[in-house]
């Protein structure tokens, strides 16, 4: 695995952040997790990840945070072409209708998880979104069979005649 696909979690409350990261533990073997407590820190993390030759596959982001809010951060991330393919999920209890519309229209939001989340729900969303990411990026799905949606990935391999080299 030369190029690593990261999961980025952006959340300002440390206890909530810890809980989120803990619930994502099972993905970490394949998708290293990075966390940030603010949009500003998140931007630096994104920069560092790409600078190291890796990429962000999925962003889980809170909305109400000091400084730039989550929706504005996602919009900025979307506007930045190099990272536009990352899947974007809002994990929030407080994004109103206006903010959510903004996120869908301008940040191509992929999913909205309302707090409090459940571990099963979180895992399902992350699995689906990362599976989408792998297929959109046309990466070899073989190595992700174990952790992601194996049914969709094998179907994808069959139709796209991708073999494991």
């Amino acid at each position: 695995m030369d190029r690593q696909i990261y999961i980025l979690v952006v959340e300002d409350e440390l206890e909530v952040m810890e809980a989120l990261v803990n619930d994502l533990e099972q993905f970490e073997e394949f998708f290293p997790i990075e966390s940030a407590n603010s949009s500003e820190e998140a931007k630096q993390v994104v920069k560092d990840v790409y600078a190291a030759g890796n990429e962000i596959g999925l962003v889980l982001c809170d909305h109400v945070m000091p400084g730039q809010n989550g929706v504005d951060f996602l919009i900025e991330l979307q506007a930045n072409n190099a990272q536009h393919e990352a899947k974007k999920v809002l994990v929030t209890g407080q994004a109103g209708l206006e903010d959510t519309i903004q996120a869908i229209n301008n940040a191509k939001l992929d999913y909205y998880i309302a707090k409090p989340w459940t571990k099963e729900q979180l895992e399902e969303v992350v699995t689906t979104q990362l599976t989408n990411y792998i297929m959109e990026r046309k990466y070899n799905p073989m190595q992700y069979m174990m952790i992601l949606d194996s049914v969709r990935l094998s179907e994808y391999m069959r139709t796209h005649k991708i073999t494991d080299h």
Partner: protein, 473 residues
Amino acid sequence: MPSKAFSDRRELLRFIRQAITESPELQKLLRTFSKGEVLFQQGDPIPHLYLLLEGEVTLNHKREDGTELDLITLAPGHFVGLVAFTTGNDSLTTCICRQNTIALCIRQDEYESVMTDHPKLSSPVQKLMLSNMATRFQKNVQLESKMNALNKQLEDEGEQLKLAYEQLESSHQKLVHQEKMATLGELVAGFAHEVNNPAAALLRSSEMLKSNFGDMQTNSAVSSIFKLGLDSKPVNSTDVRKRMLTIQKQFPWVKERSQVRKLAQMPDEALQLILDYKKDVGLEELVRQFESGKFIHNIQVASERIANLVKSLKSYSRQDNNEWEEIDIRDGINDTILILSHRLKYLNVELDLKDIPKTCGKMGELNQVWTNILVNACDALPDGGNISIKTKSEGDFKIVVLISDNGPGISEEIIDRIFEPNFTTKNQGAEFGLGLGLAISNEIIRQHGGFITVSNREQGGAQFKIILPVRAC
């Protein structure tokens, strides 16, 4: 004047009657109408000029909406059809005899010749006509001035009505607002009560879990690391990243990134325990014990937060008994800040709440004042703006609260109006866009015997100054 005109008319009428008596030709022009007979209808052309000699007629005008109005009753010596005679227009009125009436009827086209043929008639008729005209003109002037007065009165009454309506509207809105707040208060009180129970259960359970878990541990390393977990503080993501690099050097045999992250969130003391006991107890077991302690700690912190929020919510909305009580208004300010934390989170709030004496007040209502001012400031400030809240006492009898921000301030055109009811700069339909916030705040402070002022600070931003008297209940 009227009496003179009346005697003149009688005199002239006497001449005219005389002239008619002397001329059989003029007598032919006399016509008799019986009571109720109509001389002409409104809208008809009037071929004759009538000079009333006996009886009485009424001129009646039918308006466009169909209602009828008796304009005037004419007695002997008056002309009927004078307007039509001089203008040649159709009649504006209907003429009805109130009594049996005798009139001299002169066809319009014969008027000249009749006058020329009967010089004895001509002079009194012309004079009478003039007097008729003069009387009508006089009446016209009187009517005009009366109408003006009436119009003025109407206008004044209209103004008063408008004012009364505005006052009614404003007190209606205030009532609606109060009603809303009361409903909200009840809702909040109910909600707070309902949430309080599960929060208390959470808090108690986590504490029991803590002691049970502690007792269960036999191995001292496991027990120590569990206790460290209980006391642990969450580490921010920047520090986690940094520590992950050192952990990788310190624990080179740990390959899994999730384990590295967990170790990075532990204090050095816990890491030392792991290193010391790695032969006896597996790393994973110790990490799990530490995390268990941490989770219990998190539950405790979170349930305490819920309990505190609920407490603030309850005291913030304290309006169940609308009675005056001895209060420290700083408690209310602190509650308000907590309740508004979702808005204030984006701003820097500087608190300088110096000791102030207690005073007699209504906590819930004063909290509404702080809320209104703070919400306005939040709306005016960009992210990262500053709000400063200060309390101090002046002498023994005065409490001063200063709330200032470094926003754009309030434009000079509107600064004098912001305490007026219904004055708002916000769009209709916005959450706090009723335009009542500051008006109600003003009212509340006034009821507390104090006053509220606003100014723009020299260094920019707005400043609200609230002065309250120190009073005993």
